[in-house]
Symmetry: C2
Subunit: 411 residues, 2 copies
């Protein structure tokens, strides 16, 4: 028998097609447990906790919860807040006030770090609470876990869109640059190459941020492909960089984590190749579509996301704490996997780039190992055809009565 | 009994998800006709005709042709060439050399004009030939026809993507600007509003290029929506313009028709609203995805495109000429339509904007009449679930022996 009390779950960072599947996995696992009396959803993640914006998830309609499983974006709202010491202390205060004994937080490496720091604080304050991180990133950059829920669906969108765009570019004999999300890790960009039905198909050149690209080699590659194919489709990460320069185009704006906002690489490269190759070049930027294009969600991704949410609750009531749930791969084909866990310490603030040996020697493609790894993650849903337009539910949001003074965040 | 001889079909302008469905409709209709001995496909449209790049479509595998029906982009390759007098004369020369008595050309208003001019030339040169235009644009801007094959699928992509992006923006409480294709006509941008499952849903503001927007009113609208919803999703045409200015952002590059290349409006507007409203604003640009996102193709669009291709051949062998095939709507719901025709003169070089009475009084939305018009066109396919990644065939391209000297285009 685990701790008895209430639970809080929050969603953090960029949403995905499947972060709500994790939420629903957790809610449905908690439904009949004696240990968890109230299951609170934090509205806009950590912001909601600090401001006591908690909703009672057990009061939501079970049918709506089931629909939420297939709803993109973060149903509770999300947050990019990076907590400072006073924020963690306030979190503990809020949790004490609401008798919270279970804390689940879905996010990337920054969020797992926040979880770990909170867990340490709770221990040192003698507040008994089980803290379990639920993995989520479209970037697939968490360590230890085989892959991150959120990646498969984003990768499927990217791989599919590149196939579509390639045919459009080919019809004109144009060059095409497609910009794929990924600041430091090229998992999503590499996944576009997994969409090739045959050797020699688009994308013809694939550039990951793990390698710096020699500009002369780059132009030679584009010219060679164009001479051979009469078109050339180039997939680049938004973090693409030429060897002698900084990131090709970096906005002067920074996000709340202090990261520079990227974007604009494809446009800059298209201008460059058009001028140097002398053939019309277009660009497309899949942007925020990576995170939310439910129409192309991956079935494995949905399944994994649900399973990690469910397992987080089961592990917490079995007194596992200060852990993140992980996926372990047992076999590539048929794809077999199971849910496992690792310490928050082992993943907090760490990131996993594409291994350099999975990038081709010429540094303009991925290897067969990457394909073998990625392919099972990006298969589509076997859902019946939906001929309508997308429509998604929202939580009714039964708010819990706040018990503390309003929080003023220290500057 | 119609003319006996060979036929040429070409694809022109921007491809769509369904332009190949028109091609397949034409091939399959021509298959068993005594009138058409050889059915030639012009590789890259008019360019292919001028250079005698013709392939024998009856030698293509029938199964491949059936697959081509569901392949986006222009299977023959496309062209943006705007013919001058010598090009039309060369076309006639090529057609005489290959005994071409039927000419089918799939494209927008510029292409229909080219068809008409060619038809006039052939008449005045006493070369008997039936010339039939097949409508195609994602912009839906051809006159006379109820709608243009290509529009429904592009509209379905735009309407769906806006629903996805809206949920992502809402999870952050961000502002979001989505840039939709459409230089002078707002059919695609308006279609995004048809994606609202309920009143008050995104897109909250919709700006068509048919109206000039007052910048103060625009900012007031954004602030009002944000105050009410905690987010604001704005759909704008790439041809968006503020009242006192030129098009917000125009590239200095021009395409082969002499039109300025657009793009960048959403980025500029996002910067502006972020600064003026004081809330983070992102932008997305659906770009070339409008033309090729087969995963969200519209069933009605596929059906219409096939039907106009088939009808073009049937009408030509019945001695109709100098016409474009059209769609006539008989009923909105249930949606009933039939294939009809109009003179090329009536559509050549003309374009159909969204009627001003279908734009809301505040000029930031469309009316119910627009919804009624658009809704039946953007329903999805009842195809079985496809769990793989997109993969499409290509023609084998059995080239016809050229009979003329190489063509050197006069400057």
């Amino acid at each position: 028998m685990g701790l008895k009390g209430n639970a809080v779950i929050g969603q953090s960072g960029g949403p995905t097609c499947v972060i709500n599947a994790s939420l629903v996995g957790a809610i449905q696992a908690a439904w009949d447990l004696d240990e968890i009396e109230h299951f609170y959803g934090a509205v806009h993640g950590l912001d909601g906790i600090l401001n006591e914006q908690l909703i009672d998830l057990f009061r939501e309609d079970p049918d709506l919860i089931e629909e939420m499983r297939f709803t993109p974006s973060a149903g509770l709202g999300t947050s990019r807040l990076k907590p400072k010491e006073p924020d963690l202390e306030r979190t503990l205060e809020v949790f004490k006030a609401h008798d919270v004994r279970y804390f689940f937080y879905t996010g990337g490496d920054d969020s797992q770090l926040a979880c770990h720091l909170f867990s340490e604080l709770a221990k040192s304050s003698d507040w008994e609470i089980e803290v379990v991180g639920i993995p989520k990133t479209i970037d697939n950059n968490l360590v230890v876990t085989d892959n991150c829920p959120g990646f498969g669906s984003a990768a499927r969108l990217a791989a599919s869109a590149v196939q579509y765009l390639a045919r459009d570019a080919e019809a004109f004999g144009n060059l095409e640059v497609v910009e794929i999300m990924g600041r430091h890790e090229g998992w999503l960009t590499g996944a576009t190459a997994v969409g090739r039905a045959d050797e020699g198909e688009a994308p013809h050149l694939v550039y990951l941020p793990e390698v710096e690209v020699n500009p002369d080699q780059f132009l030679d590659d584009v010219k060679r492909v164009y001479a051979e194919k009469g078109t050339c489709v180039i997939a680049v990460s938004e973090g693409f960089a030429f060897a002698e320069s900084e990131v090709a185009t970096t906005s002067d704006k920074v996000d709340e984590f202090g990261h520079a906002r990227l974007g604009g690489v494809a446009s800059a490269l298209a201008d460059m190749v058009e001028e140097e190759v002398g053939v019309r070049a277009r660009f497309d930027r899949l942007g925020n579509l990576h995170r939310c294009f439910m129409g192309l969600a991956s079935q494995v991704d949905l399944d994994e996301a649900y399973a990690v949410g469910k397992s987080a609750v089961e592990r917490a009531v079995a007194a596992e704490t200060d852990i993140m749930v992980t996926i372990t791969r047992n076999s590539d084909e048929p794809f077999e996997w199971e849910v496992d866990s690792t310490s928050l310490m082992s993943v907090a603030g760490e990131s996993k780039p594409v291994p350099l040996e999975w990038i081709s020697e010429e540094q303009n493609d991925i290897t067969e190992e990457f394909v073998t790894y990625c392919k099972p993650l990006i298969q589509g849903r076997e859902a019946p055809a939906d001929t309508g337009l997308p429509s998604f539910p929202r939580f009714h949001k039964h708010f819990v009565e706040p018990k503390l003074e309003k929080y003023v965040r220290p500057q």
